[in-house]
C-alpha cells in the first residue's frame, strides 16, 4: 500500500477527515487554524508524491465503493500527476494563508468553511485521479457544490447569493455537457471506464461531437466565452483564499478534463477543431483582458484576468490539436508544453495576487480600487511580494509568465510549416491577437498594482492599514518564490512537463532541442533561445555596478521635499489617476466590446455627477433572451396548471388515449 496512487487516495481521505474535524468545534478559531495547517502539510505531501508519480508508469486501483457493479476506478499517470503537483503546490500556500486568514464573522462559521474547503480540495484531487466517468462526475459535482457553498460564505448579502446562483447554473450546464460527452465517448458499449473509452474508435461525426461537448462542458468551468459570466461574479463574492483556490486550481481541473478527453480518450484529432478552439481561445483572451482594464473592483479585475489566461491556455491546446492533426508531434509538444506551463504559472501568480487582495481586504475593508492607494508604505511585505506576481502576470522576463508566452509564440511561428495555406494565412492574425492580449495585460497589471499599492492613500483610514500576519506572509513569499523559480529554470520545468508530452504525444521537447539547465532552446539554439538566468544576472550585475560607480564617483546624497508636480501647489490624493481614469483609454479604443451607459452632468447641475457603466454584451445578447424564452415557455406550461382535480384527470385520460392510439 505504498504506491503513489494509494498515498494520494490516503491524502484525499486525510483532507476529508481534517474537514470533518472542523465541524466538531466550528467556532473555535484555534482548532480551525491548526486544521488548515495540517491541510497545507497534506498538500505538500500530495505535490511530493505526484512528483514521484510523474516519472513512474501509470497505476490503477479499483475500489469496491460506490453502487453495486459500478466500482470506482482510480488511475494516476503523467497527466494526472502533473495537475496533482499543481494542485498540491498551490493548495499548500493557500491553506497556509487560510490558517491566518479566516476569522469569525457574520457568515459561515470558520469550522464549516474548513469542511467545505477541504471537501473542495479533496474533490479536485479526486477529479484528477478518477478513471471512470461515474467517479469523475461524482467528484466533479462534489467540487462544484463545495465551491458553491464556499462562494456563498457571506450568504447574508443578496449580491453574493445571486453570484452563487449564476455559478451553480453555469456549472450544471457544463456538467450536462460533460456527461453527454462521456456518453458519446463510450461508443454504445455501456462501459464507462476511461480504459474502455480509449479502446473505442468512434466513427463518423461522433469524435467531433464528443470534442465540442467537452469544449462546452469544460469551457463552462474554465470560463471560456460565452460561458464566462460566472467568473467575475463568483470570484469577488468568495473569500480571497477561496477565490485563489478557484482561480488558481479549479479552473485547471477543467483544462485537465479538456486535455484528457482530447488527447487521451479520443483517438483522432481533426484540424478544424483546433482552428475553432483557437478562435474561441484568442477571443476569450482579448475579451478578458479588455474587460479587466475597465474594472474598478480589484477582485473582479483579477477574475477577468483569469479569463484572459484561460484563453491563452486554450489557444495553446488548440495549437497542439492543429499540429497533432497534421502529424507534427514535436510542434504539438511545444504548444502543449506552453499550455501546461501556463497552467502552472497561472496557479502561482494568480493565487499570489488573489491572496494579496485578501490581505488588502482585511487590512482596509476595501475592495474598490477607487478607495485604495499608497499601501506600499503601510503593507510593505504584501506590496513587494505582490509586485513579483504583478510582473509575472504581465509577462515580463525573467519571471515565469514570460516563459510560457514565449513558448506559445514560438509555437505560433512554426505554424507556417503546415500544409494548409488557409491556416497559414490565419497565423499572423492569431499571433497578433495573442500579442495584443499579452501587451494589454501589462497595462492592466500596472493599473492594478499602481492604484492599490502606489501613490497616496485615497481614504484617511488607509493610514491605519496593517501588514499581513506571519503565516500569510510566508504563503505569499512561497508563491512569489515559485514565480521566480519557474521563471528562472524553464528547462527543468519543461523536462517535468515532458513526461506528459511523452504520454500523450509520444515525443518530448527536451530531447529534441538543445536545451540545458541554463538555456532554453526548444528546437535549436540558432532557431530560438532564451536564458532567463543570464538575463537576470546581467541586469542585477548592471544595477549593482551602476549603484557602486555612481556612489563612488559622485555621491549618494538624498534630500526629501514635497512632490514637485510641475509646481502646482495644491496636490491631493483625489488628483491622482483613478481606476476609472486608467480604464478610459481602453474603453474608448475597444468601445464595441462594451455595452456602455454614460451619464454626463450638465453645466447647471447643483451636484454634478459623472456616471459610466461598462457591462458585458453577452448578458443582453445571449443570457437575457434565454431567460426570457424560458420564462415564456414556463408561462405557457403554467397554463396547463388549473388547480382542479377534474382537469388533471382529463389530462391523464387524454394522454392515455393518445398513447393507446400511437403505441397500440
Amino acid at each position: 500500500m505504498t504506491s503513489p496512487l494509494a498515498l494520494i487516495t490516503a491524502a484525499i481521505v486525510a483532507w476529508l477527515v481534517i474537514g470533518g474535524a472542523g465541524i466538531v468545534q466550528p467556532r473555535n478559531l484555534r482548532v480551525v487554524r491548526l486544521l488548515f495547517m495540517l491541510g497545507a502539510l497534506v498538500a505538500v505531501a500530495v505535490a511530493a508524491i505526484a512528483l514521484v508519480a510523474l516519472r513512474a508508469e501509470p497505476q490503477t486501483i479499483v475500489l469496491g465503493l460506490g453502487l453495486p457493479d459500478l466500482p470506482f476506478h482510480l488511475r494516476i499517470d503523467a497527466l494526472a500527476a502533473f495537475f496533482l503537483i499543481l494542485l498540491g503546490a498551490a493548495t499548500a500556500a493557500i491553506s497556509l494563508f487560510s490558517s491566518g486568514y479566516f476569522r469569525a464573522g457574520d457568515g459561515t462559521a470558520p469550522g464549516l468553511v474548513c469542511l467545505q474547503y477541504h471537501a473542495f480540495v479533496a474533490a479536485m484531487a479526486l477529479v484528477l485521479i478518477a478513471d471512470d466517468a461515474y467517479l469523475f462526475m461524482v467528484a466533479w459535482e462534489t467540487m462544484a457544490l463545495a465551491s458553491f457553498f464556499l462562494v456563498t460564505t457571506d450568504h447574508r448579502i443578496a449580491e453574493i447569493r445571486r453570484a452563487g446562483f449564476i455559478y451553480l447554473v453555469i456549472a450544471h450546464i457544463g456538467a450536462i455537457a460533460i456527461l453527454l460527452c462521456f456518453g458519446v465517448l463510450q461508443g454504445g458499449r455501456g462501459d464507462y471506464t476511461f480504459g474502455a473509452m480509449r479502446e473505442v474508435s468512434l466513427g463518423g461525426a461522433w469524435p467531433s461531437v464528443a470534442f465540442f461537448l467537452a469544449l462546452l462542458g469544460f469551457g463552462a468551468k474554465a470560463g471560456l466565452l460565452p460561458l464566462h459570466v460566472w467568473l467575475p461574479e463568483a470570484h469577488p463574492a468568495a473569500p480571497s483564499p477561496v477565490s485563489a483556490l478557484m482561480s488558481g486550481v479549479m479552473l485547471k481541473t477543467a483544462i485537465y478534463g479538456l486535455v484528457r478527453v482530447t488527447f487521451d480518450l479520443l483517438h483522432v484529432q481533426i484540424w478544424w477543431w483546433g482552428a475553432i478552439a483557437l478562435a474561441i481561445g484568442l477571443t476569450t483572451a482579448l475579451f478578458g483582458v479588455v474587460f479587466a482594464a475597465a474594472q474598478t473592483d480589484m477582485k473582479r479585475l483579477l477574475a477577468y484576468s483569469s479569463i484572459e489566461n484561460i484563453g491563452v491556455i486554450v489557444s495553446g491546446i488548440a495549437l497542439a490539436i492543429l499540429f497533432r492533426a497534421y502529424d507534427k508531434p514535436l510542434l504539438a509538444a511545444i504548444a502543449l508544453t506552453a499550455a501546461l506551463y501556463h497552467c502552472l504559472n497561472h496557479a502561482f501568480f494568480k493565487s499570489l495576487l488573489f491572496l494579496a487582495t485578501g490581505s488588502v481586504l482585511h487590512a482596509t475593508k476595501e475592495r474598490s480600487l477607487g478607495r485604495l492607494g499608497g499601501l506600499i508604505h503601510r503593507m510593505p511585505w504584501v506590496a513587494w511580494l505582490a509586485l513579483v506576481g504583478t510582473l509575472a502576470i504581465a509577462g515580463l522576463p525573467p519571471l515565469n509568465g514570460f516563459v510560457s508566452e514565449w513558448l506559445l509564440l514560438q509555437a505560433f511561428l512554426f505554424t507556417p510549416t503546415l500544409p494548409q495555406s488557409t491556416i497559414n494565412m490565419l497565423v499572423p492574425v492569431a499571433a497578433a491577437a495573442l500579442v495584443l492580449a499579452v501587451a494589454l495585460s501589462a497595462y492592466v497589471m500596472v493599473k492594478f498594482y499602481g492604484v492599490i499599492f502606489l501613490g497616496r492613500p485615497r481614504e484617511a483610514h488607509l493610514a491605519y492599514a496593517h501588514d499581513a500576519g506571519r503565516r500569510e506572509r510566508a504563503a505569499l513569499a512561497y508563491l512569489a518564490a515559485g514565480c521566480v523559480l519557474l521563471g528562472l529554470f524553464p528547462a527543468s520545468t519543461i523536462a517535468a512537463i515532458d513526461h506528459v508530452n511523452g504520454m500523450l504525444l509520444a515525443t518530448t521537447v527536451s530531447r529534441a532541442g538543445e536545451s540545458s539547465w541554463l538555456l532554453l532552446a526548444p528546437i535549436a539554439t540558432d532557431r530560438s533561445s532564451y536564458s532567463p538566468l543570464i538575463v537576470l544576472v546581467v541586469i542585477v550585475a548592471a544595477v549593482l555596478i551602476t549603484i557602486q560607480v555612481v556612489h563612488r564617483l559622485w555621491h549618494g546624497r538624498v534630500r526629501r521635499a514635497p512632490a514637485w508636480d510641475c509646481g502646482f501647489p495644491l496636490q491631493t490624493a483625489r488628483m491622482q489617476d483613478t481606476a476609472e481614469g486608467f480604464g478610459q483609454p481602453i474603453r474608448q479604443v475597444f468601445e464595441p466590446f462594451f455595452r456602455m451607459e454614460r451619464h454626463l452632468p450638465t453645466p447647471f447641475d447643483a451636484k454634478p455627477r459623472y456616471f459610466v457603466s461598462a457591462t458585458d454584451h453577452f448578458w443582453y445578447w445571449l443570457y437575457l433572451p434565454i431567460v426570457r424564452a424560458t420564462d415564456a415557455v414556463a408561462r405557457l406550461a403554467g397554463l396547463l396548471q388549473r388547480g382542479r382535480i377534474a382537469v388533471y384527470l382529463t389530462y391523464s385520460f387524454v394522454t392515455l388515449l393518445a398513447l393507446l392510439f400511437l403505441v397500440r
Partner: protein
C-alpha cells in the same frame, strides 16, 4: 564562454553606453539645423548627465524605495538589451540569452517599472504619464513583434544573430515583406522612443507630454540614469532597425579587430539614421493622444501585411 568573448561583449556594451548620448546630441543638432536654429553642442547630453550626477537628489516625501530603485533597473535592462542587440558583432556570448521576443520583453520590463515609479509619488501628472505610456506601449508592442516575426519567418529563426546573418548574406534584392516591415518599424520606433508625432522630447507642455510627465519627480543621478537609459533605448532601437534592414558591416563572432572595423560603419549608419529621424520629426506635427491608436494601428497593419506578403510570395 571565453575571456575574449566576454571582453568583446563588454566592448559592445561600452560602445553602446558611450555612443548613445552622442546619438541624442546628433539628432538634436540635426533638428536645430532643419528648423533654422543654431545647433547646440554635440556633447551637450554628456555635459547634462555629468551635471546631474553632481547634484543632490531631491525626492518627494512619500516616495517609496521602488521609486529610487527604478532608475537603476531601467538602466540595467537597457544595458542588458545593448548586450543582446547585434550592433557591432553577431555571435557574442550573451546574444543567445534572449531572442527577439525576449528583447521586446526586456523593453516592456523597463517600461512597466518606469510607469510604476511614475505612479509612486501620487501626483496628477505622474499617473497621467504612466497611463499614457502604457497605452502607447500596448499599441506599439504587437506591431513591433509583428515586424520581428516577419524577419523571423524569412530566416526561420527568432534569434537575432541568425536573422542578421541570413539577411546579410542574401543577394541584394529588396524583399517586399521587409519593405512593409521597415515602414512599420520606423513608426513603432518613433512611438516607443517618445518622438514626434506621438510625443515631443523637447517640451514640458503639461497636457501633451507622455514620457516627460513620468520623469517630473526625478532629479540628479536618478534623472541622469533615466535620461541615459532613454538614450540607450533610442540607440538599441536604431541598432535593431539597422541590423534588420541594413545588415551590412556587422562583425561575425567575437573578433576584436572585426568589431573595431565595424564601429566606424555603425557610426556612419547611425549618423544617417539620426538625420532621417530628425527629418521625420521636423516634417511631422504631434498627434493628439487619441490619434495614436490610428498611427500605431497603421504600423500594426503594415507589419501584418508584410507577414502575409512573406507567406504568399515566400520572400
Amino acid at each position: 564562454m571565453s575571456v575574449a568573448g566576454l571582453l568583446s561583449q563588454l566592448l559592445q556594451v561600452a560602445v553602446a553606453l558611450l555612443l548613445a548620448p552622442l546619438l541624442v546630441g546628433w539628432v538634436n543638432q540635426c533638428r536645430a539645423v532643419l528648423s533654422n536654429r543654431r545647433p547646440p553642442s554635440l556633447l551637450l547630453p554628456y555635459r547634462m548627465i555629468r551635471k546631474l550626477f553632481h547634484k543632490d537628489a531631491v525626492i518627494a516625501d512619500n516616495a517609496s524605495p521602488l521609486f529610487r530603485l527604478t532608475p537603476y533597473i531601467v538602466f540595467g535592462a537597457m544595458c542588458c538589451a545593448a548586450a543582446i542587440v547585434p550592433s557591432l558583432a553577431t555571435e557574442l556570448p550573451f546574444a543567445r540569452a534572449a531572442d527577439a521576443i525576449a528583447l521586446v520583453g526586456l523593453f516592456a520590463l523597463a517600461r512597466v517599472f518606469i510607469a510604476l515609479a511614475a505612479m509612486d509619488v501620487g501626483t496628477s501628472f505622474g499617473s497621467l504619464g504612466a497611463r499614457r505610456e502604457m497605452f502607447i506601449g500596448f499599441l506599439a508592442e504587437p506591431a513591433l513583434l509583428m515586424v520581428l516575426f516577419t524577419a523571423s519567418l524569412i530566416s526561420g529563426s527568432t534569434s537575432l544573430p541568425t536573422i542578421v546573418d541570413t539577411l546579410a548574406h542574401r543577394e541584394l534584392a529588396i524583399y517586399p515583406s521587409l519593405a512593409f516591415a521597415g515602414v512599420a518599424f520606423t513608426m513603432v520606433s518613433l512611438a516607443e522612443n517618445a518622438r514626434v508625432p506621438i510625443d515631443n522630447p523637447a517640451t514640458h507642455l503639461e497636457l501633451t507630454m507622455i514620457h516627460e510627465a513620468m520623469l517630473l519627480e526625478y532629479s540628479a543621478r536618478h534623472l541622469a540614469l533615466i535620461e541615459w537609459a532613454s538614450a540607450l533605448k533610442l540607440f538599441n532601437y536604431s541598432c535593431i532597425g539597422l541590423a534588420l534592414f541594413v545588415p551590412f558591416g556587422i562583425a561575425e563572432g567575437a573578433n576584436g579587430l572585426a568589431m573595431l572595423a565595424a564601429a566606424p560603419i555603425l557610426v556612419a549608419k547611425l549618423a544617417v539614421g539620426g538625420g532621417a529621424l530628425a527629418l521625420i520629426e521636423t516634417l511631422s506635427a504631434k498627434l493628439r493622444i487619441f490619434r495614436a491608436p490610428e498611427f500605431l494601428g497603421t504600423a500594426f497593419l503594415l507589419a501584418v501585411l508584410g507577414m502575409l506578403v512573406n507567406l504568399l510570395l515566400g520572400s
